[in-house]
């Protein structure tokens, strides 16, 4: 299975939301990283064929996804960024309703709903109205509906927003386990989520893929540009004004700064092992990110 994105572009008037984006995705987990307004949601909506591109196209195994219509939607699972639900429905009813819309036979739908409620730790609240749920619980219902049809292409827009740390870990594990021979694309601006599960990460800025690669490859790109420097507390602010500081840690009366910089910021700075966060900050800068 192969999902290819060919010079995908979306203009809103004079504003370019997505600018000639191309990529070929095989089975695996793909993370889409970018600041707010980078074009992630627009791109994901075009991947789902619910937003018409200004130019370019998306193909699944060589077939245009728009032309495929229901055949594409049959293998697609999507969690929108602003996940809408019916407040008066219970979690089980809502999932059954979406299952019917996805054309899943009643009996199979019943089993799948039960299974997903269990997987997402929603069994205890299955018969409670969604409007009474916390943000994290609603988000889990949204993830469950995306997984209902066991999709070959799973697109999740900000799936971890609203989830507490425990839920985020559970979701990461679930997605890693689910991926297998499927294509999973998730967008987020929480770097650690992508770092934990994505096989390939696309960093997006101003509608374009700025850089992409595995977590290790991206981290490697900033090797030699990540430094640790210990300074007196009163000087910390001055360093923050002049450099991109990835981390700020107190050690007694002194502060340990993790600085992203092409040049060695100070004689006292020591190079350190880069992580994806460093790469993200390197491309966006602390303020933009």
């Amino acid at each position: 299975m192969e999902l290819s994105i060919d010079r995908l572009t979306k203009h809103y008037g004079h504003k370019i939301a997505v600018d000639r984006v191309s990529a070929t995705l095989g089975p695996g987990v793909y993370g889409l990283l970018g600041a707010n307004g980078a074009g992630k949601t627009t791109l994901m909506r075009m991947l789902c064929a619910i937003l018409e591109p200004t130019s370019g196209e998306v193909r699944l195994d060589g077939k245009d996804v728009v032309g495929m219509g229901p055949a594409y939607r049959d293998v697609l699972g999507y969690l929108p960024q602003d996940f809408g639900y019916y407040p008066s429905y219970t979690a089980a009813e809502f999932l059954s309703y979406i299952a019917a819309l996805k054309g899943i036979p009643r009996e199979a739908a019943g089993k799948r709903v039960k299974e997903l409620l269990g997987m997402l730790d929603l069994t205890a609240v299955a018969d409670k109205k969604i409007k009474t749920f916390s943000g994290g619980m609603k988000q889990r219902v949204g993830i469950a509906q995306a997984l209902l049809n066991n999709p070959q292409v799973l697109i999740l827009d900000e799936p971890t927003s609203g989830l507490d740390p425990k839920e985020r870990v559970r979701l990461r594990n679930l997605l890693s386990e689910y991926a297998g021979d499927k294509i999973v694309i998730l967008s987020t601006h929480i770097v650690s989520d992508v770092e934990a599960i994505a096989d390939v990460v696309f960093v997006m800025n101003k509608g374009q893929f700025l850089v992409h690669g595995t977590v290790q490859e991206l981290a490697e790109q900033v090797r030699g540009r990540v430094w640790e420097l210990t300074v007196p507390r009163e000087q910390a602010r001055l360093w923050q004004e002049d450099f991109t500081v990835a981390n700020y840690r107190h050690e007694g009366e002194r502060v340990v700064l993790r600085i992203i910089s092409d040049e060695k910021p100070s004689d006292g700075a020591v190079p350190c092992e880069p992580i994806l966060d460093d790469a993200y900050l390197y491309y966006f800068g602390a303020k933009e990110a």
Binding site: I50, P70, G77, Y78, D82, Y86, S88, A100
Partner: protein, 406 residues
């Protein structure tokens, strides 16, 4: 089918829908039904004639009293019947209430034939029935025929009646077994002129429920989700339209059923075969009370279906719940606002908008003027509104399905 069942269930699940159904039921069945029958409409003997709400809460027993009294006048109407009726009324005046006086409608109507007996000095500020000498009430059938001929002539000259109508009215006695009899018509009069037309009050409630059917998906932000399901927008649109229609039918059955049930409890079925001309002499519909009731129920039902179609189209055309509601309500209230400023033909045409026309038009003479000819077209009045609604349905589906991208 399963999707339809789920969508239909979803429609009924919202608080807004239940609130609308309960409020409408309360207004149409409880307020204009039970309270009207039991309290305000059929007055008690000896209550305060100046205050309708001073009646005792005894409508059910009063209706039985009126019915029993009517039975005492026999089956066949003669001069003596009218004389006895008026005599009884004059005897009862000191004890009767303003409200229960309306029970003598038939007698009051009959006295229209004796205009020359009115108080010549103009000193009596009361209807003729209060003071007429009953011995003068003779030649009822001759006077009635003269009166009928005079009115037929006037209405025919004004193009309000066709030749067929005139013939039917002139010979109407021959259409029934007993040409003229005293019947207690007030119950049927209430049913046909005020209770059943009340069903048109369902319109705003329908608009509140169905106006959100499509636009509500934008409000709930479910559009992106629904778009990416296999069946997607188009099939959902069809299912929504079907569930909207199913709701309209159920809503109608609930309200109309409640209304008819009350009618059966309070009025029974007596007099179902009376001609509607007992309520209005020159009504041209060749129907009895039951036929007229069936017509009014059908009129309201088809109006509900027609209006449901219009509302669903508005809901599919816009993305905003409030705008959808305003547009839907505009169909029923804007024509009323402008009716007096537009030509007659346009006023007539507006009667075809679902739930704008009134079923009591059967008691009018001829309401439509086509190429200078006055014609009474009951079938047009009930079929065009529903056709408008039915025509709206594919457009609703189409306009909704066209928004396949968000």
């Amino acid at each position: 089918m399963e999707l339809f069942a789920l969508e239909h269930k979803r429609l009924w699940r919202t608080t807004r829908v239940w609130l609308c159904v309960v409020l409408c039921f309360f207004y149409c069945v409880i307020y204009t039904g039970v309270i009207s029958y039991q309290w305000t409409y059929f007055g008690s003997e000896g209550d305060d004639p100046t205050n309708l709400y001073s009646n005792h809460f005894d409508g059910y027993s009063m209706i039985r009293t009126y019915m029993a009294r009517a039975d005492t006048y026999g089956d066949y109407w003669t001069d003596e019947t009218l004389q006895n009726l008026v005599k009884d009324f004059q005897t009862m005046i000191p004890h009767t209430s303003l409200s229960s006086m309306y029970d003598w409608t038939v007698g009051l109507n009959a006295l229209d034939l004796y205009e020359e007996l009115e108080d010549p000095g103009g000193q009596q500020y009361q209807p003729l029935i209060h003071y007429v000498d009953t011995e003068d009430l003779t030649d009822f059938y001759t006077r009635r025929q003269d009166y009928l001929e005079h009115n037929l002539k006037v209405n025919q000259q004004n193009l309000l009646l066709t030749d067929e109508d005139v013939e039917m009215l002139r010979e109407m006695d021959s259409h029934v077994k007993t040409p003229w009899r005293y019947e207690w018509t007030r119950g049927w009069e209430k049913t046909l002129t005020s209770t059943l037309p009340m069903l048109s009050r369902m319109a705003p409630y329908l608009a509140i429920v169905l106006g959100f059917l499509f636009s509500g998906e934008w409000h709930d932000s479910t559009a992106p989700l629904l778009h990416t399901t296999k069946y997607g927008w188009k099939k959902l649109a069809r299912v929504k339209v079907l569930s909207g229609l199913a709701f309209a039918v159920e809503f109608y059955v609930l309200i109309a059923g409640g209304t008819v049930l009350l009618q059966l409890i309070y009025l029974g079925t007596n007099g179902w075969d009376m001609p509607i001309q007992l309520i209005k002499l020159l009504a041209v519909a060749p129907w009895n009370m039951l036929q007229a009731e069936i017509y009014e129920l059908a009129f309201a039902f088809l109006g509900v279906i027609g209006y449901a179609g219009l509302v669903m189209l508005m809901s599919a055309l816009v993305k905003n719940n409030v705008l959808s509601l305003v547009l839907s309500l505009a169909f029923i209230y804007v024509p009323d606002l402008f009716a007096r400023y537009i030509p007659m033909w346009a006023q007539d045409a507006m009667q075809f908008i679902p739930m704008v026309g009134y079923p009591t038009d059967i008691f009018r003479m001829n309401i439509f003027h086509i190429f200078g000819k006055g014609v009474w077209l009951p079938w047009m009045s009930i079929t065009i509104p529903v056709l408008i609604g039915v025509i709206c349905l594919p457009f609703a589906i189409r306009s909704w399905a066209r928004r396949e991208r968000v």
